[in-house]
Amino acid sequence: MNDLEIFKKLMELKEREITVCLATIIETAGSTPRGTGAKMIICMDGTIYGSIGGGCGESQARSAALRSTLITQKPQILEIDLTDDLGTKGGDVCGGKLWVFIEPL
């Protein structure tokens, strides 16, 4: 999804009074599947729109989004490490790190 589609979807979800969180990649280091500015919408039922790169990073972002919305009600910066050498621990193998801003909207 491009930025226009993300923001349109965001407004549509808000109009339907669905509680949502926006996750945006704000910084990356090393090799990551998606770059700075990539966005993903997380709904409280777990539905996601868009992508910040797939895999474990996205599931971490999803948990953080639930925490931000349901517990702290504050935005947070999440660091996601994709440096698991060979993916042996079930992690991602891209080798980089990314920082994601998670905000309840």
Binding site: L4, F7, L10, M11, K14, T24, G37, K74, I77, E103
Partner: protein, 255 residues
């Protein structure tokens, strides 16, 4: 007005702007998640409540615009922003709907270029030859003169003859573009460029035209030529025109 409504409006109008989001803050009136829109001219929608902060933010956004790169910036100790440069999807205008345009349109679409095809021959500029493209079957001059170029427009000139190439470039070079490429033999290209100089276009603007077109991969068939052109477009988008020129210079292409 909700700032998201404004964001959608700007994206629909294909404007370039910076969406600034507060990441961390130790100022009570500036809270994490708060957003402001900064235009490329420096105006701000959603003031931070102090002229000093607003002008510092505008300054940092200018840097991000110049680098065309979204980034994290610290406006003062403890106050960090994410400056997200939002620009429209790249638009690729193909002037000429001949045998290279077909694979070029096909390759460019999955690479996230919205393709527009212009040709004065309706048999060539037809939806059956160019699925999912915008088709303008009109005279080149009129079509280009009236067509809205976004802030993210790439143009490839591959018409059937040098007179048409020249007609296209006369209109294209009046507008702002990210990339202009012109196909042709050295002789044909030189004719077109000299004609533009006679018309009064500056040498600097004429030099912006990538010609011969495409990265030097030894392309021969229409598909190979299309691949070399689309590779050059990706290079310009990701690394800038300086790198795309450096690749050509590396093998001695210089007009």
């Amino acid at each position: 007005m909700d700032i998201h409504v404004r964001i959608v409006e700007l994206l629909k109008k294909e404007k370039i702007f910076c969406l600034a989001t507060v990441l961390t803050s130790n100022i009570s009136d500036v809270r994490p998640g708060q957003k402001a829109i900064v235009y490329d001219k420096g105006d701000i929608v959603g003031s931070l409540g102090s002229t000093k902060l607003d002008s510092d933010l505008a300054g940092l956004a200018q840097k991000a615009f110049k680098e065309n790169k979204s980034q994290v910036a610290e406006i003062e100790a403890g106050v960090k922003f994410f400056l997200n440069i939002l620009s429209p999807d790249a638009q690729l205008i193909l002037c000429g709907a001949g045998h290279i345009a077909i694979p070029l349109a096909r390759f460019a679409q999955p690479l996230k270029f919205r393709v527009v095809v212009i040709d004065d021959r309706p048999d060539f500029a037809s939806p059956s030859r160019f699925p999912n493209c915008k088709i303008i079957a009109e005279d080149f001059t009129a079509a280009l003169r009236d067509y809205h170029f976004s802030s993210n427009t790439y143009v490839v000139v591959i018409t059937r003859g040098h007179e048409h190439d020249a007609d296209c470039l006369i209109e294209i070079l009046k507008k702002k573009t990210v990339y202009v490429g012109l196909i042709g033999s050295r002789r044909r290209v030189r004719f077109v460029l000299e004609m533009l100089a006679e018309k009064g276009y500056s040498r600097a603007r004429i030099k912006d035209v990538f010609t011969p077109i495409g990265l030097p991969i030894g392309a021969e068939s229409p598909e190979e030529i299309a691949l070399s052109i689309v590779s050059e477009l990706v290079c310009v988008r990701r690394k800038g025109s300086v790198q795309a020129r450096a690749l050509r210079n590396a093998v001695g292409i210089d007009l």
